[in-house]
Structures are given as structure tokens and as C-alpha cells.
């Protein structure tokens, strides 16, 4: 049986207006304009417990944690870390719901998933007394709109959508000002040398941003269809490749520019051929773009919740977060990390300083929020038509 309203937490449904229709509108969906405090249906673990021994099971994207940092955590606590991976957030949600994955911590999920995870009672609240490094987080993310009070989530990485590019190719980088920079993706001079993200929400939002729109969660079919038509023009103009591997392809020299996440370009230096100067990589994003973050979640069925808290706190430590960034690329959501540290300690090239997302730019960006099934179907239909060619 699939999870409908019947499987939702009664307390949550009550908190959200109840009903038996199982519509996602009953879920508390936070937006920057309407932050939500998620209902708590279980108590966090008690204070002052010792970390458990044994194996901590983590569910995360591949290559989203530095093996060296994990090894130091293991030796510090005398435990082992077992990593299971997912490829998409949808896959993670489905496997967590079905019980196909049994883990202590889920990492890398975003606010698109938080409401159903809480609704299905799959999470347990964090106990802040175990997170001594919590205040290292960017202030806005200590109390995020999707989970006021950070009851169920602790932010991990922040990022912005923009254009990654090669500085050593014959590109007209003068367009990378204001909102005009998006036009580079429509510039036929770059035919065959462009990539765009293969994620329908992000990529359909991009032409909307280019047109100066700010509602990237629109339910207006005409606006979404216009975005699809604009993307079709990109295909005509530059024949882009649709994927999520600009972080490999741009450093490898196989493409000159790509619509991607800032973290991809920050990871780029690790994918450069030997001997190539990291300053060949650049990133641009305007004020009107998508910004976002992902987070750690403590799963309700965790058998080692204290150890899981310790793991999160370990990665909130500035030194450990910097070491992790060196491998993953994505920018830790820590206000305590200075640009100079990333340059001096992690070798971030100055050409990529623009890929860093400051707290102010993070706050001013647009956010993708969870759509109702009916509105989501509009976006899916338009994307299906676009990828049909």
C-alpha cells in the first residue's frame, strides 16, 4: 500500500488542518515569506548520553563526504562509518519511506523533502545540547524558513545557480553582469560547447530568471510553457548537453560553459588535468538566481542517535568543514569560514571567488519550494515536451 493520508502522523495532520484527502497542501510547506515550525511528534534524545559504539550508517549522495574526514571521525570515536548512496532526492525519499534503506543520518536532502519526511514520521528532532558547533552556521540557517528552530535539520552546504565557464577560452565574459549573463547560454557562438542541468525545476526556472521573473514556483502554465519554449531556443542555438556533470566537463575542457550549481565549479579544480592552472575556471551568478542549501537529518529509526549527533557536530567544526570542502567542493554553510581560508588553505583560485555564496546573496536569492501535485504536473509536462526535442 502506498503512503497516503492514512499513514501520515495524526498529530501532524491535526497541526496542518487534518482531513483525509492526503493532499500535499496539508503538509506544512515553508517558504521564505511564510516560515513554518514543523510539528514535533517525538522527543529528542536525552541530554548527556555517551556516543554509541559500532557502525554509524549514513545515507548520502556519492562523493559528498571527504573520506579523510570520515576516517578522522572514525578514529576519534573508535567507530566505523558505513555509507549508502542515492542518486536523486526522489530516490532517497522513496527508499527511506519504504524502509529499503536503514540509516542513522540522511545527508544532502533539501527543503523539497522535509515536509513529507516529517509527515511520515521518519525523522526525530535533534538535541541541540550535542551540537556545540551549531552556532558556526550562517545565522539565517540556524532558523531556516522550512524548519523554524532547526528542529529536524542542520544545514550542510549552500549554493547558487549560475554559469560555470572557462576563463581561457574565447568567451565574451563582459555579459556576465546584471541579468544579461544568462544570454550566454543562448549565444550560438558557443554551439556544441555548452551544458545545462538535467533537473526540471532548476532548469525551467533559469529562463524565468533571465526574463526577470522572481516567482520560480509559479502555477501559471503559460509562464512555465514560455520557459520551455525559451529552453528550446537554447537547443536550437547551442545544442547543449543535458546532464549534471559540468563539474567534470568544464575542467576537462570538453565544454566552455554550463548552467550549473556554484558547488560544481568549486569542485572543479579537483577535476582539472594535471598541470592546468585552476584559474581557468570561473563562475557567474546574478542577484536574481536560485540559492539553496541541503542539510543533515536524524532518522527516526536511528540506533545510534548520539553518535549521529557527534558526526554532525564534527562536520560543523570549521577545520573539519574546510577539509570536507577540499574534497567535495561545495561550500559549507558556516559563517565562521572566511574567503581567505578557502584561498589560503584549500587553494581556491581567485577566479572562483564569485562562486562563493555570501550570507547576503544567499538570503536575496530565489528558493524552489515544494509544489502541489497539480502544479508539479505542469512543470513535468513542459519538461517532458522540452526533452522530446
Amino acid at each position: 500500500m502506498g503512503l497516503g493520508a492514512a499513514a501520515l502522523s495524526p498529530a501532524l495532520l491535526a497541526a496542518c488542518g487534518g482531513g483525509s484527502g492526503g493532499s500535499s497542501e496539508q503538509l506544512p510547506i515553508g517558504t521564505p515569506q511564510n516560515p513554518v515550525r514543523l510539528p514535533v511528534t517525538r522527543e529528542p534524545i536525552a541530554d548527556g548520553l555517551a556516543p554509541e559504539s559500532g557502525t554509524l550508517r549514513i545515507y548520502d549522495y556519492a562523493d559528498y563526504l571527504n573520506p579523510d574526514t570520515i576516517a578522522r571521525f572514525e578514529s576519534t570515536y573508535g567507530v566505523e562509518v558505513e555509507l549508502s548512496t542515492f542518486a536523486t532526492e526522489e530516490e532517497a525519499l522513496i527508499k527511506l519511506r519504504s524502509g529499503a534503506v536503514d540509516a542513522d543520518l540522511a545527508i544532502g536532502l533539501t527543503d523539497l523533502s522535509i515536509a513529507p519526511l516529517v509527515a511520515a514520521d521518519l525523522l526525530q528532532p535533534f538535541n541541540r545540547s550535542y551540537l556545540s558547533n551549531f552556532t558556526n552556521l550562517i545565522a539565517g540557517l540556524q532558523d531556516p524558513y522550512y524548519d523554524q528552530g532547526s528542529q529536524y535539520t542542520v544545514a550542510q552546504f549552500i549554493y547558487a545557480n549560475g554559469i560555470g565557464y572557462r576563463t581561457d577560452r574565447n568567451l565574451d565574459t563582459s555579459v556576465f553582469t546584471g541579468n544579461e549573463g544568462w544570454n550566454a547560454l543562448w549565444d550560438s557562438r558557443y554551439r556544441g560547447r555548452v551544458g545545462i542541468l538535467d533537473f526540471y525545476r532548476d532548469t525551467l526556472s533559469m529562463p524565468m530568471l533571465r526574463r526577470g521573473l522572481t516567482d520560480v514556483n509559479t502555477s501559471d502554465r503559460a509562464v512555465v510553457e514560455q520557459a520551455g519554449a525559451d529552453l528550446a531556443e537554447v537547443v536550437q542555438a547551442v545544442q547543449p548537453q543535458l546532464d549534471g556533470i559540468s563539474y567534470q566537463e568544464i575542467p576537462a575542457g570538453n565544454r566552455d560553459l554550463g548552467f550549473c550549481w556554484s558547488g560544481e565549479m568549486l569542485a572543479g579544480p579537483g577535476y582539472l588535468p594535471e598541470g592546468v592552472d585552476p584559474s581557468v575556471l570561473g563562475f557567474w551568478y546574478p542577484g536574481n538566481t536560485l540559492t539553496g542549501n541541503d542539510f543533515y537529518c536524524l532518522l527516526a529509526k536511528s540506533t545510534r542517535p548520539v553518535l549521529a549527533h557527534a558526526f554532525v557536530d564534527f562536520f560543523l567544526d570549521v577545520d573539519n568543514a574546510l577539509e570536507n570542502q577540499l574534497y567535495v567542493g561545495y561550500q559549507p554553510a558556516l559563517q565562521a569560514i572566511e574567503t581567505e581560508q578557502l584561498i589560503e588553505r584549500n587553494g581556491l583560485p581567485e577566479s572562483l571567488i564569485d562562486a562563493l555564496v555570501t550570507p547576503e546573496r544567499y538570503e536575496s536569492g530565489q528558493r524552489l519550494v515544494r509544489l502541489s501535485p497539480e502544479v508539479d504536473a505542469i512543470w513535468v509536462d513542459v519538461w517532458s515536451e522540452f526533452i522530446a526535442g
Partner: protein
């Protein structure tokens, strides 16, 4: 084991008993999944997790989304995808036949160690995963790849990995050719070559003997090999996904992959699977009719 004195009824029971495990296997691992796909296609979507919720009772099936998909396949955006996929498959099968038939013919005419070595060479591609072999072509066809550079030397300078129909068809041919050659070889190996010699003795030229004797007698192998590669080609998505990643070369499998793995509309992906299954059933029917006709002619 059936003894020499066993009756025909005993033998029938024995063969039925031997077929039972395989039949059960088919029932469990083909019919049940096929029904499940229908239950997903005509089912609903979980409004919270956006996952497919199969509806097991056919009386409760809903056909709205399936109807939407069908109208798209018949006269909407998916029509172009279906036509493109069909064109790719037809061209790729044709190229496979042109390239594979001489190889199968040549190997079938060999004897002894030479034949064994050639058969071994034909099987070698199976030692390496198709995924790895296609990824190696991605490297070769990149702008600075070895193959791209070599082609530039002979004056062919183009982007091979950005929505090139040629590259996708090439990938299909590359991936499926061995699957065509083996059944074709088996058919040619069983061919009664005395008939070819008889045709030559009666005055036929080499070409005429091939056209009027060898080719008709190998028709069953051609049909078997073609069906064997055409069926998976129709559902293929990783060839275009790896070698193109462009909407210009999207195949039906690309759409199914998106609906099932990247969207909240999994019932539409399941409907496309059913549409494809019906089309492939038609191809299979053609093969079976063709096979029966060939057998009648040969007997």
C-alpha cells in the same frame, strides 16, 4: 528418466513436468511485473511522496493520465520521439545486417580451429560491460578525443557528442551488433550447403546462388537476429544518454527514464512502457508469422 517402454502419455507428462519450472518462472517474473506496470499506469500518485501507487483492481483503474500520454504519442510531442526512435532502430538494424551478415557468413564457412578462434573473437566484446565500452567512446569522440582528432585529419570536423543522430545510431550498432551476428551465424551454420552447390551446378552464378538459395534459407536467422536487437533498442536510453544527452536525440527510453526516475508522474512512464510493449508485441508477431511461413516453405 523415461525408459524405452514408456508410453506417449508418460513422455508428454515428463516434458510437461520439465517445462513447469520455466513456465512458473515466466508467470512470476513476467506476467506479474507486466500486470504491476498496468496497475501503476492506471493507478494514482501518492500526493505526499509523489510515488506511484498501483491500483490492483482493474475496476478502479483511471485512464485520464494514460489518455493524455496516448494523445501525446499519437499527435503530441511524444509522437516525434516515437518516430525518431523507430527511425533509429530501423537504420541501426539495417546497418547491423549489412555489417553483420558477411561476418556471420564468413565464420560459418570456416572449419576447425579457425572457426573456434573467430567465434571466440566474436564473443570477446561481451567480456567488457557495454556501459564501459560506451563510456570509452565518449572519451574517443570528445572534441579532443582520439577518434575526433583522427577524423579531423581526414577533413571530418564536427561535434559528435552534442545531439548527433549519427553518433546515436553508431552507438546502437556498436552495442547490439554481436547480438545479431550470433543467431545469424547459427542459422548459416545449419544451412544445407549442398543446396548452394546444386544451384551452382545448375548454372547459377555466385551472386545468384546467394540471392536465390543462401539468403532465403537464412531468412529465419535474419529475422531472429533483427528481432533480438530491435526489441531492446526500442527501450534503450543509455546509448543516447551517454553519447548525446541532447533533446534532439531523445528516444522513448529517455522519456520513460525521466517520468520514472526524475519526476512525480511515474504513471505516465508506466503508460509509455505499455505503449512500447504493444508495439514490440507487433514486431514479435511479425517475427513469429515470418518464421512459420519460412518453415512452411522449407518443408
Amino acid at each position: 528418466m523415461s525408459g524405452p517402454s514408456s508410453s506417449p502419455a508418460d513422455r508428454r507428462r515428463l516434458w510437461s513436468g520439465l517445462a513447469l519450472p520455466g513456465s512458473l518462472w515466466l508467470a512470476v517474473f513476467f506476467l506479474v511485473p507486466a500486470y504491476t506496470i498496468a496497475c501503476v499506469a492506471f493507478g494514482r500518485v501518492d500526493p505526499v511522496f509523489r510515488d506511484a501507487v498501483p491500483v490492483w483492481n482493474p475496476l478502479q483503474w483511471q485512464f485520464d493520465d494514460a489518455g493524455e500520454v496516448m494523445s501525446s504519442v499519437i499527435s503530441g510531442p511524444l509522437r516525434g520521439v516515437l518516430l525518431r526512435t523507430t527511425a533509429y532502430v530501423i537504420v541501426a538494424v539495417a546497418v547491423c545486417l549489412v555489417a553483420g551478415y558477411p561476418i556471420a557468413y564468413y565464420v560459418a564457412r570456416q572449419t576447425g580451429t579457425r572457426r573456434t578462434v573467430l567465434l571466440g573473437l566474436m564473443v570477446i566484446p561481451f567480456w567488457v560491460s557495454l556501459l564501459m565500452r560506451l563510456l570509452s567512446w565518449v572519451n574517443l569522440l570528445e572534441p579532443d578525443g582520439l577518434a575526433s582528432r583522427a577524423l579531423r585529419i581526414v577533413g571530418i570536423d564536427r561535434q559528435w557528442l552534442n545531439g548527433s543522430h549519427i553518433t546515436v545510431v553508431f552507438g546502437l550498432v556498436y552495442g547490439y551488433l554481436p547480438f545479431l551476428i550470433l543467431p545469424l551465424y547459427a542459422a548459416l551454420d545449419r544451412l544445407d550447403w549442398r543446396l548452394v552447390e546444386a544451384a551452382r551446378d545448375l548454372g547459377a552464378t555466385t551472386t545468384q546462388a546467394f540471392r536465390w538459395v543462401t539468403l532465403p534459407l537464412s531468412r529465419a536467422g535474419i529475422a531472429a537476429g533483427s528481432v533480438l536487437i530491435a526489441l531492446p533498442m526500442f527501450g534503450d536510453y543509455y546509448t543516447t544518454d551517454l553519447l548525446s544527452r541532447s533533446p534532439r536525440t531523445a528516444m522513448m527510453g529517455t522519456q520513460i527514464d525521466f517520468f520514472l526516475n526524475g519526476s512525480s508522474q511515474k504513471q505516465k512512464g508506466a503508460t509509455l512502457v505499455l505503449v512500447l510493449a504493444v508495439l514490440l508485441a507487433l514486431v514479435m508477431t511479425w517475427y513469429l508469422v515470418s518464421l512459420a511461413r519460412t518453415r512452411r516453405e522449407q518443408s
